[in-house]
Symmetry: C2
Subunit: 142 residues, 2 copies
């Protein structure tokens, strides 16, 4: 059973980045479609396809490091009745770090399913230039 229903693509995306920031594997996989046709490319990584590869990659990422602070900027959204494509910059900073780190440019694709909006594709790659500094106020994902 899915943990959550996401009524909009923005809800699914908020949960995706919350899961990433909290290193919460169950929430992360609740964002993804339950179909086998899902694809994920982590920055610098190979193309992963299917539930097993995608889940295992997030498990390893979450097992290997502390949670990062993250704020998402520069969203461009392509929106339809059944599909949403979001292009964003992911700006990470490590625990205790205040300076900007390398940003990631990500393409996120969501489909409207019987169980709400779900991610079917995530493609991240290092963005040239420097990440934006984190906001001075408490972080707001969206």
């Amino acid at each position: 059973m899915p943990l959550q229903i996401f009524p909009t693509p923005q809800d699914a995306e908020a949960a995706f980045y919350e899961a990433l920031e909290r290193t919460d594997l169950e929430l992360m996989m609740a964002v993804w479609s339950e179909d086998e046709e899902i694809v994920c490319v982590h920055p610098g990584g190979p193309r992963l396809a299917g539930q097993d590869q995608v889940r295992e990659s997030w498990r390893q990422i979450f097992a290997s490091g502390a949670a990062a602070r993250l704020h998402v900027t520069k969203q461009v959204a392509i929106s339809g009745a059944m599909v949403a494509v979001h292009s964003v910059h992911e700006n990470f900073s490590g625990p205790g770090e205040s300076g900007p780190m390398q940003a990631v440019v990500a393409t996120n694709v969501y489909l409207r399913t019987a169980a709400g909006w779900r991610m079917v594709a995530h493609h991240g790659s290092p963005a040239p230039g420097t990440a934006e500094p984190p906001p001075a106020s408490p972080k707001i994902l969206h």
Copy 2:
């Protein structure tokens, strides 16, 4: 006016890679949606959005180099009535080169529009490992 109508996402994708291989800017832009909400990330590059940025990037790429031989492998397709997401490996080899070059993993998103299927997002990034060698027989894009 669009140069061509693409009745299926595969037709649009075949034209995309034909345009890339032939460095044909008009065909390339005929594949893209005419909306402003289009996004393109070239391997190692920044996120580009909108007609002007996307067209200008392809113009520069096509102006800077000779056509490359290209074959596309390992397609994973997520297909709906109005959307198609294709994940592929792009295997390039330069003119006169027979050996494999670095592959690119690409996420291509197509929407069904009133003018046939059109690309709305392309995200490419270097794929770890080595590209597959080109086929011995004359290249077939699909």
